[in-house]
Amino acid sequence: MDPILEMNHVSKVYGEGATEVKAVQDVSLALEPGEVVLVMGPSGSGKTTLLSMLGALLRPSQGEIRIDGTDLTRLSESQLPRLRLQNFGFIFQDFNLLSALTALENVMLVAQLAGARNGDARRRAVEILTDFGLQGRLDFLPEKLSGGEKQRVAIARALINEPAVILADEPTANLDSKIGFEIMRLLRQIAKEQRRSVVVVSHDQRIREIADRVLWLEDGGFKTLAATASDPVCGMAIEKDRAAASLTWEGAEYFFCSRGCRAEFEAGLRSAPLPA
Amino acid sequence: MLMARRNLGRDRTRLLLNIAGVALAILLILLLTGIREGMFRQITSYLDRTPGSLLVSQGGVENLLSVTSLLPAGATARVQGTRGVESVIPILSQYTILDLHGRKQAAYLIGYVPARGGGPWRLAAGRAPRADDEAVFDRVLAERHDLALGDRVDVMGRTLEVVGLSEGTTSWMTSFFFLRKSAVESLVRLPGATSFLLVTTDEGASVDDVRSRLASLDGVDVHTKGEIAANDRKLFARYFSAPVTLMAAIAALVGALVVGLVIYTATVERQRDFGVLKAIGAPNRSLYLVVVAQSLIASLGGVVAGSVLAIGARAGIMALRPQFLIVLEPADFVLALVVGLGIAMVAGLYPARRIGGLAPAEVFRR
């Protein structure tokens, strides 16, 4: 299957000479339709810059980005808004709904920006909001919606123009854990059922479970977290090939953050059998 | 104070808008009051510059302008003969509407006896009239209508030649023009008629005494020039002063609105900063001071800018429309300063109260 979104050797450099900052360095990425990719990494690693470039909000210093075959970097400024409207859906940490419009109007607006007529936009917006269980909240202003409801409206808004790619920036950061989890499951469901690609930038460890791929962005470059395991003693998430210590016992392999944890584990083994 | 400066300075555009709003208000107030004062001066210019301390008019008349006065026959001689009267200037005057190249121009016609005075006090060009078909026109009026020395103008059925151009006889509403008294007598078909007598009293004679003696004469009224001038000003004020003052007041109000809005939005956006200060323990009073200081700085800047603009606008308007006299004196600028400060106080009021009511817990909101 052809990737729907491709980044080839993309770099973003700010400033010049002594003050030069390489926010993103020689990054390549291919995204398949229906794929959910999670991008994680420490603050300042360039995650936001990457997401901005993917969404045609920022021009790379080098490299090319293709959406459905079209090279973003070759388009003029005036062509980008239309491209964003039709190909991308955005979801934000702060929801970013327009405070003066109701839930329904927020979703309708984006449809109308893409050229939909009033009646048609309303119909589609009602449909998609109903799918998300918000049929009782259509005329509510954002200030009257709960965090989870707001994010669902935002997702509806992101989907209304049937984009190929959804870009989400910390979608669960302002939600409590239960709601956040539901939102992520919803995103995964949309990706799989509707064959849309989802790129999520997040710190939230729980999202790892629903992602097809987890990319680690550090100092402007990607590292794929091949496989991860939990340290049974302290609970830390460990990359298997970077584990400080490991142990094989009764056919199962265990990974530890440090030799100290492994030592504790071994001591425990000797004293009591592990639960099944 | 420092925070006020930084708070405002952070958005330079907003500060400029703030200053612009106040400057506009100050500009309007200065110009409007300047125009009104200028009109007052123009209206009373004839009385101010013509000799005499008393004005004798037809009974029941207490204005010079806007009225037609006709003294009873023989009044001039009787006034002249009254004890304490040194000299008498007779004039025959009335309004006319001049049709000058399609535009109607009101002008105040004064018929005087050149030998006795009562005519133009300063000539920009030419001379006084020597014949009944000669006239002296106000210089600015002549310029506005492309009249020059030697040109002819039709007035009330007679063709007059412009032989002189007078200075200081302009007004946006009417200008003065001068003919010989005998010329006006024949124009209005009232030989020997006189409208007013300007009376100069003997040195040493009491003006009040002369006045009461003259008042006892039949069919006349006597007033001091000052009283007549005041009456003319009052008459004008009735029709034009009110709208002008109203507009100046509105300008001040709008200035306050503008500043208030800017300060308000600046304060709202910095709500967190203020909340933090409060949480740390800053007393309300110091926060009020910050808000008021902000509006003060902006208002003072606006006062200066507005004053400079007013001086420039005055020069421009008077150059383009010389019939307008705009008077700007130091007292006016003091008024502007007071208005600016007033605006600052009023504009800072609502935002200051809002800060006062701010709960310090705001600081922990995302």
């Binding site: 936001t48 909000l57 808004p81 109007e105 | 612009a20 059925g157 009232l190 029709y239 509105i250």
Partner: protein, 370 residues
């Protein structure tokens, strides 16, 4: 985008109120001043329009009553009467002067009419009689009321005392009222019985006034003859020409005030929504759409402001005459059209800076951490 503009406006009622208030004040200023002058224009010709004369004969070159005077020899009356098409000639004397009614001093057109006047006398009598007669005066009912006098009261005119014998309607404007005394009394006060001011001519039925007027000018020396309509037109022109300068100033003042308030409210309104506009840009809205939102906000604001101003001014036209009989406001169509155009210009200019600022807004800021 209209919907968004409307919602943005109504979301902040305080700011909306300020902008509506400021704009409507400025527009009321312009509309009211225009209305005052239009009313004056119409009223200033009340005497001419209602005089009953078809033609006015005046001293040569005199084409106005307001702020002017005219002197004709009495003998001209016979000569005018002899012109073909003239049915009747009524001489009147006229001067503008203050009259003293009670303690109230006000300016008036003082008209001296003969007792058998076919034209030139009061046209609508509320009480009393219409012929002033010797020693009598017909006074405007509003002026009398303001002075606190009625029939039988005393009025001082040109130094002499007259008794109110009739009260008339429609004879007052901001420029002054009209008071009628007898022609003979007027001539006495003017120490001259040989002069009249105007000759009011009624034309014979079927005669065209313009032609009769031309005939009068051709046959009688040193006079100007105008039809009633032409004379009225000349009078209105006086008001118009004299007020253009002051009206221009006031209109500019109003425009600047309205612009200042509108520009500021649009600017601050846009500024406070900068983040939301950034989001819209990120989602794919073009600059044109954002500009449209700003412009619509301005247009809606000024439109509402205009409606409020129109309503307020209309209320004023009803209330003003109740406060003072001479105050008459007339809202003319040209005035409304001018104010509409001004409002739209204000909306456009006020939007310029915010539109420019929004065009420069970088959509990538939407991902910035708060």
């Amino acid at each position: 985008m209209i919907r968004l503009a409307w919602r943005n406006l109504t979301q902040n009622p305080a700011r909306l109120l300020i902008s509506l208030g400021g704009v409507s004040v400025a527009l009321v200023l312009m509309l009211t001043l225009d209305a005052i002058f239009t009313g004056m224009e119409q009223r200033v010709t009340a005497f001419i329009d209602r005089s009953g004369a078809d033609i006015f004969v005046s001293q040569q070159d005199v084409r106005n009553m307001h702020m002017a005077s005219s002197s004709l020899a009495r003998g001209q009356q016979a000569r005018v009467k002899s012109v073909a098409g003239v049915a009747s000639v009524t001489p009147i004397l006229y001067v503008t002067n203050p009259i003293l009614a009670g303690k109230d001093r006000s300016l008036a057109y003082i008209i001296g009419v003969p007792s058998d006047a076919k034209a030139g006398g009061p046209w609508e009598i509320e009480s009393g009689r219409e012929d002033p007669g010797a020693g009598g005066v017909v006074l405007d009912v509003g002026v009398a009321a303001k002075a606190g006098i009625g029939l039988g009261g005393e009025v001082e005119i040109l130094g002499d005392t007259f008794e109110v014998v009739g009260l008339s309607h429609g004879t007052a404007s901001m420029a002054g009222s009209v008071a009628f005394i007898s022609l003979d009394d007027f001539a006495d006060l003017w120490q001259d019985s040989d002069t009249v001011s105007f000759l009011l001519v009624e034309t014979a039925p079927g005669e065209a006034p313009e032609q009769v007027a031309a005939g009068i000018e051709a046959r009688v020396r040193d006079v100007t003859a105008m039809t009633r309509q032409e004379f009225a037109r000349q009078e209105r022109k006086v008001v118009r020409d004299m007020s253009t300068d002051i009206l221009a100033i006031m209109n500019i003042v109003g425009f600047l005030i309205g612009l200042a308030v509108m520009a500021l409210t649009v600017y601050t309104g846009t500024l406070s929504r900068r983040a939301e506009y950034g989001v819209l840009k990120a989602l794919g809205a073009r600059n044109g759409k954002l500009a449209a939102t700003v412009v619509w906000q301005a247009v809606i604001s000024v439109s509402l402001g205009f409606l409020i101003a129109l309503i307020l001014t209309s209320l004023l036209t009803v209330a003003a005459p109740l406060a003072s009989a001479s105050l008459r406001l007339v809202i003319g169509l040209p005035s409304v059209a001018k104010v509409v155009v001004t409002s739209l210009v204000i909306a456009g200019v006020a939007s310029l800076l915010p539109i420019w600022q929004m065009a420069r807004l970088d959509p990538a800021t939407v991902f910035r951490r708060r």
